[in-house]
């Protein structure tokens, strides 16, 4: 039995945990403000807010998510908000809605509610916003009518209003200003009560088992053995939604034991269910990788980053997975666990891939955590990605590079490349070539040439072989041009 709040209503449902939140709100609750555009997280017409009770028990953190890819089970214990849950009395509009209407930001209207929800989510974000973060909040919403400028004007006008939001008790201000109805202020207490109630019933029902997954999915041992492990849903619900609806699922999203980014000595450790957005916002990571937010802005969109997990990206095994490419160059390893046998082992990420979508992992093994050696502040790191559309697109080719230089000589290198082989690649020969050399145009040219021998791209909808080869050369060059702007010139390399 899944339990959560949908707007101001407590929901108790036995609908499948692997079905989509979108179908639930539209077809079971008949809340038709949430629209179906693509069912693959690429348009944002189905955007809703999902609120999670914070450890303080006093606040709820809201994130935008595309409900088409949100497993219904991921709503368990949370507050799901659709447009019907923020609408004020008939005849009045919330400031978000008012801003869009005033600027002519809605034409056919089919995408509009998605924008309303994303901007409402932005208004609820506890961190003070900027014009850039306000615009970033609608980076997952596609509009075919307006050309976006009116929506941009609405967003900037709204952000101007939000500068008046106090840092203390922002929710009370937001309710007073009509951004959200007043019932929002009672939600933390309601979620706290809901959590207490479900934990109590779980303990009485299944005292011996891991409480979270059991209460959510209600799986018995036999079902658990057949269950599909499901994280944010951003890959699996695109690939096989029909099957997931029909089968038991084990939900990992938001599990406390698989979350968090921390430093342990010289290692950085992150939980397998860490989301891309959590990476983007992590202060621990930003200290070592100051440009990480810029890289991650190129990875999908805000709602998808709120959902998609790091381990999910690894296990999906796309040869072009952005996070995989990034973590390969960071030298990441996985801690795998077989929950049945209670066994754990370590596996370097680069050894995970045997062939196209083939993994060096037992079916029952799950990723528990990910760790990588903390880069030194003097190390070089860069991530490059080119896709047809710069944002919210899948790469034609992506690449990351980590470099350590001492005494003018390259001491160690990791180079990764996506979209140029059947798996997310490392370029070991190129890296080996660089080690011990001085950075010069000649060295880099040699590396660019050698890299061509390590790749085997194919022509597909994301580019021809010729393009992918050329593009990888360019992206590798881009790493070095970024690292050594004083020593290297574009014209000397290419």
């Amino acid at each position: 039995m899944l339990q959560f709040y949908l707007n101001d209503q407590l929901i108790r449902t036995s609908q499948p945990a692997g079905s989509t939140l979108l179908d639930f709100v539209r077809y079971h609750r008949h809340l038709t403000g949430t629209k179906i555009g693509c069912r693959e997280g690429d348009c944002g017409a189905c955007t809703v807010l999902v609120g999670e009770l914070q450890p303080d028990g006093q606040t709820v953190s809201y994130q935008s998510m595309t409900s088409c890819l949100t497993p219904l089970g991921n709503a368990h214990g949370r507050h799901v908000v659709t447009v019907e849950g923020i609408n004020a009395a008939r005849g009045t509009l919330t400031p978000v809605q008012q801003a869009i209407v005033a600027e002519g930001g809605s034409q056919c209207g089919f995408c509009t509610v998605g924008f309303v929800m994303s901007l409402t989510g932005h208004s609820l974000n506890p961190k003070p916003g900027t014009p850039e973060t306000a615009l970033a909040s609608i980076d997952g919403n596609i509009c075919r009518c307006t050309g976006y400028k009116s929506l941009e004007r609405a967003t900037l006008a709204l952000q101007q209003q939000l500068t008046n939001r106090p840092t203390e008790q922002p929710l009370a201000w937001l309710a007073e200003q009509g951004f959200v109805p007043t019932y929002f202020q009672g939600i933390p207490a309601k979620l706290t009560a809901l959590r207490a109630a479900t934990e109590a019933s779980a303990v009485s029902a299944q005292p011996a088992q891991n409480s979270h997954s059991v209460t959510v999915t209600g799986l018995d041992a036999a079902s658990a053995a057949r269950a599909q492990v499901l994280g944010g849903g951003t890959d699996l619900l695109v690939q096989r939604p029909e099957q997931l609806r029909e089968m038991p699922v084990q939900l990992l999203y938001g599990q406390p034991e698989r979350r968090g980014i921390r430093r342990e000595g010289h290692q950085i450790v992150l939980g397998a269910a860490t989301t891309a957005q959590e990476l983007l916002e992590s202060e621990v990571l930003q200290e070592m990788l100051p440009h990480l937010p810029e890289y991650l802005k190129l990875v999908s969109s805000t709602p998808i980053r709120n959902m998609g997990t790091v381990a999910g990206n690894f296990i999906n095994a796309s040869p072009i997975g952005d996070l995989t490419i990034l973590f390969l160059a960071l030298g990441a390893s996985l801690t795998l666990e077989d929950p049945g046998l209670g066994q754990r082992r370590e596996l370097p990420l680069q050894d995970l891939y045997l062939g196209y979508k083939q993994l060096a992992k037992m079916a029952d093994e799950q990723v528990l955590s990910i760790h990588f050696p903390a880069p030194l502040i003097t190390d070089y790191f860069n991530f490059e990605k080119v896709s047809k559309r710069t944002h919210l697109d899948i790469a034609s080719v992506n690449s990351a590079a980590w470099l350590r230089v001492q005494g003018g000589l390259v001491q160690a290198v990791r180079l990764s490349a996506g979209g140029v082989g059947p798996v997310p690649l490392m370029l070991p020969r190129t890296a080996e070539f660089l080690v011990g050399r001085e950075i010069s145009a000649e060295t880099v040219r040699g590396a660019l040439e050698l890299a061509q021998e390590e790749i085997s791209p194919i022509s597909d909808v994301r580019g021809t072989v010729q393009y992918k080869r050329l593009l990888l050369r360019q992206l590798l060059a881009a790493h070095f041009l970024q690292f050594f702007p004083a020593q290297l010139q574009l014209t000397d390399l290419l």
């Binding site: 693509c38 693959e40 209207g109 309303v116 976006y148 929506l151 695109v238 080119v386 080869r469 050329l470």
Partner: protein, 769 residues
């Protein structure tokens, strides 16, 4: 005055097709598609599918009671395949089941056996094999053959433009209900309710009066639901008619992408000649239109390519020929611009080709040859109220074109990796359906006894704001508050025999009909007031709901007058008919006066290209546009911004990829990319030119739907300009869209990174610590 719909849109209260409360007993339909692009249809085996839970019935061509035909211009398109299949995704059978999941689950259990036939996807190949939808058309003025001899400079080349997916965010769909007289009521997401009605009646073998089609609004259309909504309306109606149950059919996104036609790709040849003063003397173009497997609207799209082959330029000698080529792709269809953009891309390519070879700025050639008042277009219509030069000169001075050019050149001189490019794109677009008889509309206006007003027309609201414009026309004409006016759904039983909402003409045609109806009602009411109050009829007006006699308030108001009319048994309903005056066109000679008027404008585009990565970002598009006397500047600005960005998408990111088997590879939103927030230009300036409008435009507010799409063509040429700054003197093909792939390959054409003869395929192992 705000556009009315948005206040409901932002609350999620606007009802679209899939939001209609489901009636009990509704069956859900899913479409079985042809698995190959061309072949002989041998058999359809659905016995296994019928055994699945919830599957109620599976319909094929044999079940069609009337005629299995939905072709609009040419009767060449069956509703369900019969005998042969002509494209991948062609509807072959219809599954009806109790739930949507059950209907979709059954699709995989229907076996369609096809014996394959050769597949053509290339329009030039189709033309070579005489696979033409209709005979070729030629527009001709002067004599190009002799004109070449007078030219000081002649250039020739090839230009290719790709197709474009409409990507309305609401997919195609229909919901059909059987009616008691043996007919059907269809709620359809269509721009052409009458087309759905006509073809459904034909398929069911009943009179059109037995088919009612109703449209509340569309979640986007852009031409994609002008003709191509018919299939889904007729299929749902067929299911409802046979089972006597409501049938709902909504395409999922990937089915919609696979099965529906798009903007036509074109491959074209051009030849262009100038005199020694760089005045245009002659132009020849041959267009090969990739029509897909059936005519759909292709012949009309082809015609508009010819109408706009010379864009905004005066050329005394023109020969333009167009071939509509039958290929094994889904039938291509209307898309904002309707063939005009494809024609304009070719002449702009020709001008750029000439400028590059002459070593003069292309803007010089463009400006020198702009249309002037009274210039005769190749189809013999003279310009009337021509604003081509005004638009160009206003844009050039207002946005400082020489300064922009200098800035771009300075930037490029100082930067190695980033290069800026600039282009100027003038447009001239004719307003009217080029098929003259379609330029008619009716409005049915009721005044209720409380003074509120209901207006029904043939206009379909799809985000363009036509309902708001019609409401404004009614309110202004009657002298009442817009709040009193409701624009009703578009329904074939209230307003019959309508033209589709298309050709940018919807507000003009339906607005004019509304104006006529309201003028008649106003006259009737004021004559009553004159009688009752014993006033002179001349000089009576209604303003702000108050009746005025020679400008001073008379002793009656709108409400009182309406009530009096009812009690005096004066009709409070009017049904008016409007037909655009003065237009005609002879399709044999290809001469006439097809357009009510033309719309003009000019856009200046600047872009920055990253010459390391091959990516680009548009800095600004600055536009001077001829709106006439805009009825609603916010709506009209929205059309410019939206049309522009859609046009930029067509020219840059939006790349339809079919393989040789006619299979769509860019088959989802993860592989077909339309502009997002960040790919729109950083700045879009829209200047409203001071122009009087045209009497044929509704309240002198000119049509605005399609023209701005063609400003997007400037995006292509701006990127090209930047590439040539990185590679001075480079000759580049004219091939749109100019994707990041094409940009990078153009920047580094000499790099041949061939696959080495021997490559390691093993997974690399660890190198770093």
């Amino acid at each position: 005055m705000n556009h009315l719909d948005p206040a409901r849109h932002v609350r999620g209260e606007s009802q679209y097709l899939d939001d209609i409360p489901v009636q009990q007993g509704t069956l859900y339909a899913a479409v079985v598609e042809s698995p190959v692009a061309h072949g002989k249809l041998l058999s359809i085996d659905f016995e296994a599918a019928l055994q699945l839970p919830g599957v109620v019935r599976i319909l094929t061509a044999e079940d069609i009671p009337g005629e299995n035909q939905i072709g609009g211009i040419v009767p060449d398109e069956p509703l369900l395949a019969e005998g042969h299949v002509h494209f991948r995704g062609q509807p072959v059978a219809l599954v009806l089941a109790e739930t949507e999941h059950q209907a979709h689950a059954a699709l995989g259990h229907v076996r369609v056996e096809v014996s394959p036939l050769p597949i053509i996807t290339d329009p030039r190949l189709a033309a070579a094999q005489n696979e033409l939808i209709v005979p070729p058309r030629t527009f001709q003025i002067g004599d190009t053959q002799t004109a070449w001899a007078q030219c000081a400079h002649v250039f020739a080349g090839v230009a290719e433009s790709g197709g474009q997916e409409h990507l309305y965010i609401e997919t195609q769909g229909a919901y059909a209900f059987p009616t008691e007289m043996g007919g059907v009521r269809v709620v359809s997401s269509t721009q052409g309710p009458t087309a759905v009605q006509r073809h459904t009646a034909r398929v069911l073998g009943v009179g059109m009066h037995q088919v009612e089609v109703d449209v509340t609004r569309l979640g986007g259309g852009f031409g994609g639901k002008e003709d191509q909504a018919t299939t889904w309306g007729a299929l749902a109606a067929l299911g409802a008619s046979i089972t006597r149950k409501p049938v709902k059919l909504v395409l999922d996104r990937m089915a919609d992408l696979r099965m529906t036609g798009k903007r036509h790709p074109y491959s074209s040849d051009f030849k262009i000649g100038f005199d020694e003063n760089l005045k245009l003397v002659a132009y020849e173009a041959t267009f090969y239109q990739n029509a897909g497997a059936a005519a759909d609207l292709s012949p009309a799209v082809l015609e508009r390519t010819l109408f706009h082959a010379t864009n905004s330029y005066f050329i005394p000698n023109v020969t333009a020929t167009a071939y509509s080529c039958r290929t094994n792709l889904p039938p291509n269809t209307a898309f904002r611009g309707f063939g005009g953009p494809q024609g304009m891309f070719v002449i702009e390519s020709a001008l750029v080709c000439a400028a590059e070879q002459l070593g003069v700025p292309v803007a010089e050639l463009q400006r020198r040859n702009l249309l002037r008042e009274g210039d005769v277009l190749p189809y013999r219509q003279p310009t009337e109220g021509c604003h081509a030069e005004q638009a160009w000169d206003t844009a050039a001075s207002r946005y400082n074109l020489p300064g922009l050019r200098a800035e771009v050149d300075d930037f490029n001189a100082q930067n190695q990796q980033f290069k800026k490019g600039l282009s100027v794109m003038p447009i001239c677009f004719g307003i009217s359906f080029t098929k003259t008889p379609m330029n008619q509309a009716r409005a049915l206006v009721h005044i209720y006894t409380d003074g509120s007003v209901g207006v029904s027309t043939g206009a379909v609201e799809m985000g363009q704001g036509v309902n708001t414009k019609i409401m404004l026309v009614a309110a202004r004409t009657l002298g009442i508050s817009p709040e009193r006016v409701k624009v009703e759904s578009t329904n074939t039983t209230r307003v019959a025999n309508t033209s589709p909402s298309a050709a940018s003409a919807t507000a003009d045609l339906n607005g004019k009909a509304t104006e006529l109806a309201c003028l008649a009602l106003r006259e009737r009411l004021l004559r009553l007031a004159a009688t009752e109050l014993q006033l002179e009829y001349e000089g009576l007006t209604i303003e702000g709901e108050q009746v005025l006699a020679a400008g001073t308030p008379a002793d009656t108001t709108w409400e009182k007058l309406v009530s009096a009319a009812y009690w005096q048994r004066v009709s409070l309903t009017e049904n008016a008919h409007y037909a655009t005056p003065g237009i005609h066109f002879d399709g044999q000679t290809n001469q006439g006066h097809p357009f009510a008027y033309h719309v003009y404008g000019t856009a200046i585009t600047t872009v920055t290209v990253d010459c390391l990565r091959g990516t680009y970002a548009f800095d600004a598009v600055q536009i001077a546009h001829d709106f006439g006397q805009s009825l609603h500047p916010q709506i009209d600005r929205g059309q410019i911004e939206g049309g522009l960005v859609q046009g930029i998408g067509w020219m840059t990111l939006e790349e339809l990829v079919f393989n040789e088997e006619g299979r769509l590879l860019s088959n989802s939103l993860n592989s077909y990319k339309i502009p997002d927030l960040y790919s729109a230009p950083k700045t879009i300036d829209v200047h409203f030119l001071d122009t009087p409008g045209h009497p044929n435009a509704i309240m002198r507010s000119k049509a605005v739907g399609e023209p701005p799409l063609m400003y997007g063509i400037g995006a292509y040429f701006a990127v090209r300009d930047a590439i040539r700054s990185f590679r001075p003197g480079a000759t580049l093909p004219f091939s749109a869209p100019i994707t990041p792939e094409k940009v990078l390959l153009s920047l580094y054409p000499d790099v041949l990174l061939t696959t080495p003869a021997c490559v390691s395929t093993t997974v690399p192992t660890s190198v770093a610590p």
